[in-house]
């Protein structure tokens, strides 16, 4: 953070991240689930099919806890267990494309407020932001792995 323009970013960015995570926690509470459950569902939706073990690795839970996690999600109809035909020990888990939980409603305020922020941007700014998000996403995932390994 030596460049002068990065200075200001260094002050703004932590507050921003704090707000994003707090919003995530509030959203989970609004739909009546724990944060882990909600964001594991997101992970499944974005990543696609995944074995129980992979999900355990991504969430940082033990395999036992992950079984229970999947149970909870399945009970709510958010997720489906599919036996892996190639290896019948394994269970593939996939997100169901239904909002059985009112997540859309819970995210409505964020969509509205953030939408307003984005709409007022020029096409060029949107391009810059989109590219940033695209690059930041894997960076966060790598950071997650690194943090978990550091224990």
């Amino acid at each position: 953070m030596s460049r002068p323009d990065l200075e200001r970013l260094g002050a703004v960015y932590p507050r921003y991240l704090n707000a994003v995570v707090l919003h995530g926690l509030a959203t989970a509470q609004a739909v009546g689930m724990g944060p882990t459950d909600l964001y594991a569902t997101g992970t499944l939706a974005f990543h696609g099919r995944m074995t129980s073990g992979e999900l355990a690795a991504k969430t940082g839970l033990t395999t036992g806890a992950t079984t229970r996690l999947i149970d909870r999600l399945e009970q709510r109809g958010l997720v489906r267990r599919v036996p892996d035909p190639a290896d019948r020990r394994r269970v593939l888990v996939e997100a169901v494309a239904t909002d059985a939980i009112g997540l859309d409603d819970a995210l409505a305020p964020a969509r509205e407020k953030l939408g307003a922020v984005f709409v007022s941007c020029s096409a060029e700014e949107i391009a810059t932001l989109t590219e940033h998000f695209e690059r930041a996403t894997p960076a966060f995932h790598e950071a997650i792995e690194a943090v978990r390994e550091a224990e």
Copy 2:
């Protein structure tokens, strides 16, 4: 989301938010606290002094649960209770400027990976990003309030 450039953003952004929140959860776990506790501490650090009641409102907890929250944070030396001289029923809570918990270490990977993303940006792009974060932060806080009220 009608503009063509917003289309792509709409696909990228949810994944990005998911990654940010997951990283927040992993960080909390790494420092051995619950997500609420960690991000309440952040809120205190950024907002400055705050009464117990205000903190309760910001976290969405009851006042009783907030008392316990402050107890936990105080025990870890992250926070200090200061009696309000103007109104002695009230307790002001303020963040202590010490990293008694290894948060800096836990955030190191994110700083590194994200730092790499930012450093490769032009000054103009950094300006765009900084401005966006500045505007998105209050938007998220408003969304949090809206979600809480909607219950």
